[in-house]
Symmetry: C2
């Protein structure tokens, strides 16, 4: 065994999160950014990332403008309201914090899988963390140099 894709999120989600954080950091400076600039700063495949960001545009999390001088940006007034849970849910769905840890279709406190009670806290904590983490906050960390998207 020994799989690749068993990080917390899918690649699509990782790219989406990183893209949003970069776009947000530039929106704070009133800059719209093209997809080429985004992927240069987050080290991700351009076409795939474009598709993911496009999905977030449809979800109204990101705004876009086509044509010359176009690009992506995040609405100033929206930025503080958007949290990680919106992005993860839009891309990966909610199964990571709502689904059964062992994949049972039906699993609840009444008829639990053997791991059910063990997962309750872990998942609630993950959900609450995603819920309370705003894009604004993450983008500020990046802009100020406290964090990085490239390593």
């Amino acid at each position: 065994m020994a799989y690749q894709n068993l990080t917390m999120f899918s690649k699509a989600c990782e790219y989406g999160i990183k893209a949003i954080i970069y776009i947000a950091s530039q929106s704070m400076l009133e800059r719209r950014v093209k997809i080429g600039e985004v992927v240069e700063h987050i080290d991700s495949p351009e076409a795939f990332t474009a598709k993911i960001v496009g999905a977030l545009v449809k979800e109204n999390i990101v705004q876009s403008v086509t044509g010359p001088y176009g690009g992506f940006y995040i609405d100033k007034y929206q930025m503080g309201q958007i949290t990680m849970i919106d992005i993860v849910t839009a891309i990966d769905g909610d199964s990571i914090f709502n689904g059964c840890g062992l994949g049972l279709k039906d699993c609840d406190a009444e008829q639990p899988c053997p791991m059910h009670s063990k997962f309750v806290k872990v998942r609630a904590d993950l959900k609450s963390m995603l819920n309370s983490t705003s894009i604004f906050e993450l983008a500020e960390g990046l802009k100020s140099g406290k964090s990085t998207l490239m390593r």
Copy 2:
């Protein structure tokens, strides 16, 4: 978007965990079980599950006997020592609790990704939960009827 495989673990890992719990519950009754019996009780594809359980045999987590009256079992004296972290690590590796949440190759407190500090607790809690959950405990829950593997 909206992906399938974004539960906590891979399908391989889900099947492996369920198989181990069932095998353990029968080992408590001094019963060896054939793979056909295992998959009937955990609702998983037989050949795929056999391959995964086979990998756990190589890791010395499960014991096996070939031929008539053969099958799988878990050593009585080992059972209390085996925890979820052994199984998850054997199948999915450790990236879910050791890797960067945003997929950076290098990410630590010194040069963190924007989510780093947010993930620290969630991952530590997940790791400690897996570490402290023994197969014995899970198998007892199943055997006593408190939990189920089929729904």
